[in-house]
Structures are given as C-alpha cells and as structure tokens.
C-alpha cells in the first residue's frame, strides 16, 4: 500500500474526518437545510395556488364583464325596440287624428259648398222670377189698351172686400 502511495493512517483519518463531517452535517445542517428546502417548496406551492386563484378570479371577472356587456347590449336593444314601437304607435295616433280632422274639415267644406250651391240656386231662381215678372209687366204696359185695362179692372174689383 505504501508502494502505491496510499497512506493508511491518512486514509483512516480522512475517513474518520468524513464520517465526523457526515454526522455533524446530518445532525446539525441537513435538517435545517431540508426544512429550508421544504419551506421553499411550500412557498412555491402557495405561490402557485395563489396564482391559480388569481387566474381563476381574473377569468371570472372577464366572464362577468362579458355577461354584463351582453346584458347591457340586450337592454339597449330592448330599449331601442321599445322606442321604435312607441314611435310607431305615436305616429299611427297622429296620423289617425290628422285623418279625423281632415274628414271633419272635408265634411264641413262639403256642407258649405252645398249651402252655397243651394243659396246660388235660390238666387238664380229669384232673379229668373224677377226678370220674368218684369218682362210680363213691360209687355203688359206696352200691349194693354184702355178697354183691356177696364175689363181687367172690372174683373179685379169683384175681389174687393168690405172695409166697414
């Protein structure tokens, strides 16, 4: 062994040294180190769990936001539809009232036209009567002689009433 360069005592001392180191390490260093590693592992796990929760919360928020937007859009569409319906209803109402007013005006105008027509007709008739009687008067004035006048007077005097 000495020919090979291996010192037995040194080797033994190193082995003892190593054993001592191992015992000391196992007793005093490995436990805290392992504890530390476990703590780090746990912290990592907690972090991951938290990240997972955050991600989940974020996803939920996004979903809720999407749902709210959809609900808002729906409400807006409904409002627009309702406004359209109201507008149409009001338009129909206005048209209906306008039609009624137009009918009333039309009837009134027709009535006035009819009244005017009747009045005109009566006026024309009266004018014709006036002209006819005037013509007859003029003709009689020119054509009645004294004898005819006397004969007519005699005939008319038969219609005289008694005054007293």
């Amino acid at each position: 062994m000495e020919n090979l360069g291996i010192d037995g005592k040194l080797l033994l001392a190193q082995l003892l040294n190593f054993a001592l180191f191992f015992v000391l390490f196992a007793k005093f260093i490995s436990k805290p180190f392992l504890k530390f590693l476990q703590q780090e592992k746990q912290t990592e796990k907690d972090k991951e769990a938290l990240m997972g929760k955050l991600k989940k919360g974020e996803e939920e928020l996004v979903l809720k936001e999407k749902q709210l937007r959809t609900a808002d859009k729906k409400a807006a569409v409904e409002m627009v539809e309702k406004a359209k319906e109201d507008g149409l209803r009001v338009r129909e109402q206005i048209l209906s009232e306008a039609k009624k007013d137009a009918e009333i005006l039309k009837e009134k105008a027709m009535k006035e036209v009819e009244e005017e027509r009747t009045k005109l007709h009566q006026d024309v008739k009266n004018k014709v009567a006036d002209l006819s009687v005037l013509l007859v008067e003029e003709t009689l004035q020119q054509n009645l002689d004294e004898n005819s006048k006397k004969r007519i007077t005699q005939s008319l005097l038969k219609n005289l009433p008694v005054i007293k």
């Binding site: 009266n126 009687v133 007859v136 008067e137 004035q141 006397k150 007519i152 007077t153 008319l156 005097l157």
Partner: protein, 93 residues
Amino acid sequence: MKIDPTIKENLKEYFKDMMKQVKEKVIITSAYELSNEEEKTIISSLGLTGGKIEYKVDPTLLAGVIVTYGSKIIDVSLKGQLQNFKHILYESA
C-alpha cells in the same frame, strides 16, 4: 212742466180730430182715370158711407186699383197680383 188743463183738453180734442180725419181718409189709386160708374162700384163694394175720398192715377199699376183706408191698404191691382205671383215663385221648390 205744468200745462194748463184747458189747453191740454183742447190739444187732445184737436189731435183726436186729426186722427179721425186720417183714419177716415180714403185714397183710391187706379191705373187710369176712373169713370163715375166705376167709382160708385168701388165705393159700394167697400161699404164706404162718408168721408173724404181722394182719387189718384198711377199707370204703373197696369190695371185694377189700390185702396188706402187709414192704415189699411187693399191692393187689387194687376201689378200687385204679379208681385204676389213673384213671391209664390220665390217660395216654390
């Protein structure tokens, strides 16, 4: 205003006489000059016994007479008949 009663009475009588004269006044308007016979016929037909009778001529009457007695008017002229006919035409449909 106080008026003497005598004057008041006299005024009353005067107005009464005037009214009587107006009431009893007869105006006969004809289309031509009436003869005496025609005048008598008219007077007897109307039953006029007295009072003043005035005769007028209006050729526009064409024929017949109009008798005015006070506020009454009796129209038996041809012109009057034509006017009646005109009013009948007005009222006809």
